[in-house]
């Protein structure tokens, strides 16, 4: 069977340097290993990461690199980028938020309002996080704070 080569692949990971060497934390759920395959498959691959780190930090544990820079088109720093979903050992689900999404999605007009409020409304990712609120985000953190 012919392999899939999507025009664009977008994945979320834990850290990367500015060159695009992408790493996962050693403690991660095995399901997320599939992200490596998705990342390699894309003709263009965009990786959002919890944190952009230094070259030295990447070189400290080179075996954690799942995508070297040759496989990555660009990296975007997006702390809490998996919200409202969980991100391995960094933070867990926000089930209240997911519940709001679920309820809004029952009605097209309500859902349009929901999208307007949370997705198209905020100017950027940080504005979205501000709307969610620092307290709420830190409560989800499994490490007691933003890393």
């Amino acid at each position: 069977m012919q392999a899939a080569h999507p025009d664009v692949a977008i994945i979320h990971a834990h850290s990367a340097d500015v060159h695009g060497n992408v790493q996962l934390d050693p403690l991660h759920w095995p399901d997320n290993d599939a992200d490596e395959f998705i990342g390699w498959a894309g003709k263009k691959t965009i990786v959002t990461v919890e944190q952009i780190v230094s070259d030295e930090e990447i070189r400290r544990n080179p075996e954690r690199t799942i995508l070297p820079r040759d496989a990555v088109t660009c990296v975007v720093e997006a702390p809490y980028g998996a919200f409202p979903c969980a991100c391995d050992d960094r933070y867990t689900y926000d089930l209240d938020w997911v519940g709001e999404y679920y309820e809004a999605s029952a009605d097209p007009a309500e859902f349009a309002k929901f999208i307007q409020k949370w997705v198209t409304g905020p100017e950027d990712h940080l504005a979205f996080l501000e709307m969610v609120g620092v307290d709420r985000l830190l409560e989800l953190s499994t490490r007691g704070g933003v890393l």
């Binding site: 340097d17 060159h19 070259d55 070189r59 080179p62 690199t65 070297p68 820079r69 040759d70 496989a71």
Partner: protein, 191 residues
């Protein structure tokens, strides 16, 4: 100033072939001259071209940035202590070849012919052969899938033959559309 050695000249000539952005792969070498040609010269050439931003990975998957110095030796302890941005598995490296992402690679052997076929398996066509050589390791992956494969050999009549005794890494086979007929990716012409 001392005149350059032939190996130094080869390293400089090879370095001139690299473009601004290369993903090169330097593999394994067995020893002595074969090691110098397949590993040593490409490694030095890659280091010479760092000002162009050339990437290269050495010994299966150590992704090295241009600002990093070469290790003292290629023994496992030195390789493991070598600063790098990624340490990819062998199967991942071969996958990168298969995807056509490797822009250049380097191989050596005992014979090459006018179609660029390489022989690192045996001398003579007898089965079993009179002289059995070390064999190709991943040479066929290099020769088929790298965008450009550099074959480094000593300039000797015994080496540059009309037809190789055994094809361990295909160049252009019998010539013509040999590669195309076998769905090999098109080889890129030298710069």
């Amino acid at each position: 100033m001392k005149p350059p050695t032939i190996y130094e000249t080869m390293a400089v000539a090879l370095a001139k072939q690299f473009g601004p952005k290369e993903h090169g792969f330097v593999g394994l070498g067995t020893g002595e001259q074969a090691f110098i040609l397949a590993v040593g010269i490409p490694t030095v050439a890659a280091q010479l071209s760092v000002s162009k931003g050339t990437d290269f990975s050495l010994q299966y998957g150590t992704l090295v940035d241009p600002d990093i110095r070469l290790p003292e030796t290629l023994g496992d302890p030195d390789l493991l202590a070598w600063s790098c941005a990624a340490r990819l598995s062998v199967e991942r490296c071969l996958d990168v070849f298969r995807r056509g992402m490797m822009t250049c690679s380097f191989i050596s052997g005992a014979q090459v012919d006018k179609f660029g076929n390489l022989n690192s398996v045996q001398i003579g066509r007898d089965r079993p052969p009179k002289v059995r050589l070390t064999g190709p390791i991943a040479q066929s992956d290099h020769a088929v899938y790298a965008q450009r494969t550099f074959i480094l050999l000593p300039h000797d009549r015994r080496v540059f033959v009309d037809r190789v005794d055994f094809v361990s890494a295909p160049g252009f086979g019998d010539g013509g559309d040999w590669r195309k007929e076998r769905a090999c990716p098109a080889a890129v012409r030298p710069r």
